[in-house]
Subunit: 184 residues, 2 copies
């Protein structure tokens, strides 16, 4: 069964309160994402750990009930952090990181590497018979292979899509909107 | 069957002639690599494409009969290049890139993304019964999976080792000297 690829580049989610510490302006939509209601904002931040920083990290809106920084392992080596692989919203053992906006900065135990996951509605899941909680994804090509531990993330108003990070995409030489296979 | 992981970071191989355009000093050993005779040199270069550059790219010695720049897909996006996936020494369709040393600079059709491969001697290959030319590699862990198209690279004086690039290693969260499985 084929599924469309969504590549998550490094990004941050912010609480309303944290957003207002970092920015004076309103959060505004740069581009809508495939997941309904979610958008890439015009606002960006700098993320920093000691003397290492990465600029122009996109804020993803709308604001959430938690502040979370999602980076790749490549970014983590550069920032000298060792974040755990987590499902979005699970900040257990998350790394402390500083987030800098044009107005102010915050330091939060908020940095993770996102797990691989598939967004799907309950209805679609039943229709496609994706009853298991974890699948594997196979990609063709010279640098292809199989991703293990891809979690099913069922929620209303989901757009059926695989989310992987930039390391996964670049290792397998796959891009946004490519089609890959869900296997057992 | 287990095999040790060697992670190839971005690096360059140079011909004697090109080396002497870039450097005034002799090529010197910083650290011996696992492959007998091969070493990470004290010398580094900057690689550049138009307005994008990456500094401190290690020269791997000894000098060879070809000049070759090996980068990851992540580097390629940054440099705005689209190099092909190639076995070392095969520069067909390689991207043109500028290599800058302390003495001078060269521009060569030399940039590739290295394929995944296994170094092995003829004797070890027979002993381990690795008769096929291509295998798959499986890595455990939360971000584990399988690499397809891993080529057997038989040569005298080889050290039995899997070579993958930094994108592959970071996607699967594996490191230099980790052990992974060779599968059919």
């Amino acid at each position: 069964m084929k599924i469309k690829v969504g590549v998550s580049l490094r990004h941050v989610h912010l609480t309303e309160e944290d957003y207002n510490i970092l920015f004076d302006e309103d959060l505004t939509v740069k581009e809508n994402l495939n997941q309904p209601g979610q958008f890439s904002a015009n606002q960006t931040v700098t993320i920093e750990n000691n003397d290492k920083k990465i600029e122009n990290v996109r804020v993803i809106g709308p604001n959430r009930t938690y502040t979370q920084v999602e980076i790749s392992r490549t970014d983590a080596y550069y920032l000298k952090l060792n974040p755990p692989v987590r499902t979005s919203g699970d900040l257990s053992d998350a790394e402390e990181i500083t987030i800098i906006g044009p107005k102010g900065s915050i330091t939060r135990k908020s940095c993770i590497i996102a797990d691989r996951h598939i967004h799907i509605t309950k209805e679609e899941r039943e229709k496609l018979n994706l009853t298991k909680d974890i699948y594997q994804i196979k990609a063709e090509g010279e640098k292809g292979g199989i991703f293990s531990n891809v979690k099913i993330k069922e929620a209303p108003n989901s757009y059926f899509e695989l989310h992987i990070d930039s390391d996964d995409a670049n290792a397998f030489d796959i891009k946004q909107n490519d089609k890959v296979d869900i296997i057992e």
